[in-house]
Symmetry: C2
Subunit: 232 residues, 2 copies
DNA sequence: CCAGCGACTTGACAAATATCAATCGTATTG
DNA sequence: CAATACGATTGATATTTGTCAAGTCGCTGG
């Protein structure tokens, strides 16, 4: 691995508290690879050989069953994925594929587990990371079970808007078919859902979203920090 | 707390690897309480003051939004809940209420975080516990997003059957209204779903479920270890 | 330039799910 | 024992969501 990547990884919360020696050990066994778009990095059901770290690009975590499939989450730099499978030495529950050209670190799971056993700082960082992941999925689960698809879309747009610095207009982070899958609906329904939000001042032009009256949309969406706030 | 409860708690994976001193410290600040049924133990949004351990009885984790509510999970002895909120010192994402008369240990979150900082064994046990919780929610999420309500019910019954030692008949673990909520449907729909499984040999008499032909039901349900196997 | 591809949209329809109201059955209680 | 309360069920209906089949639009590669 090029040494230039070290600092970026070291700076991750997950790796910043471990001893330099242990970090070195991890990095010695690791390697970095550049992947083109649409490459399947891991397949659900396979043993978790590597902990992955996305340095650049983005990765889609998805799952399939009985001919259907669904996007579960998107991983953006710089963060890790499939930490839980790695540490439990259990099969992946989700598949992963690159969405764009991506630079990814692969750290042998075996090494991660070994260092985890001897480095308290690493173990503690892992707790924080896993707790965060757990709470994110719980929020997503609440979103799915408590809201209609229209409400999910409205709240998603408000979250994206906040992420864009409360701008009145912003671009969708990815294509609509996958947004639909993430929100748990079909692409056709997403199209209709966008129309359904027109009365609340939402206009769509291709990938560009404009929110005419944020307060109006919020009155409908009823965003809630226990579902929509990703920082806590 | 009565000393008789110590061994039960100590035997939990979460607490078995920590030093005796740290365990003592945790137990000194903890207390045990008996709650009647239907008592709300915690409310979502509140600060996480205590890590909870269910010694006996059972607890429903649920969440509400905009007048709707849904059951997220059931906690049975002996295990903990809201570990993630405790460790992140963040508000509860779910509310909890006793389903029956329950005996519950309350351990001040502050103590848990303090010991977590100094006891590597505890931190490591926490990682395992959180990874398990995370994977459980992911499975549940896949169940929700990839399956129809009929398929969810069929697979739920197969899981329960396995839990009952592959018996041809078994009793539902809780009342149907809450089962419906857990499976993400209305009670009315659950009733119809049971009827919908009759062609596959499922018969219902009150709380008693009989599975006439397990292979037949499995052909319909298509159980998958990456969704339905809770041990991995 | 333009043919072709793929994502998106739209409409018509079908299926799944929720809602509302009424009823049934059982367990509890005065 | 009767009255009642509550969960479960059922039927009718409405809403939501998915499916299928066009058709549009924009982009890209020859």
């Amino acid at each position: 691995m090029p040494d230039s990547d070290y600092p970026d990884i070291r700076r991750l919360d997950l790796f910043s508290d471990m001893t330099p020696e242990h970090f070195q050990t991890l990095m010695r066994g690791a390697y970095v690879q550049n992947f083109p778009p649409q490459i399947e990095l891991i397949t659900e059901g396979e043993p978790s050989d590597f902990l992955h770290v996305v340095l650049s690009g983005s990765v889609d975590l998805f799952s399939a069953w009985n001919g259907r499939d669904t996007s579960m989450a998107t991983v953006r730099p710089i963060s890790t994925f499939i930490l839980a499978a790695t540490i439990k030495n259990a099969p992946y529950l989700m598949s992963a594929r690159t969405l764009e050209k991506s630079r990814i670190v692969l750290i042998p799971s075996q090494d991660v587990r070994a260092i985890f056993d001897v480095d308290g700082g690493f173990a503690r960082a892992m707790v924080t990371e896993l707790a965060q992941c757990y709470r994110s999925v719980i929020k997503s689960q609440k979103d799915l079970k408590l809201r209609t698809s229209l409400e999910r879309l409205a709240n998603y747009l408000l979250r994206q808007q906040r992420h864009a610095g409360d701008a009145a207009a912003f671009d969708l982070a990815f294509e609509k078919r996958r947004l639909a899958s993430i929100l748990g609906m079909t692409p056709e329904n997403l199209s209709r859902a966008f129309k359904g939000l027109q009365p609340y001042g939402v206009t769509v032009d291709g990938t560009r979203i404009s929110i005419g009256d944020q307060a109006d949309l919020e009155r409908f969406a009823k965003p809630n920090s226990l579902i929509d706030d990703f920082s806590t």
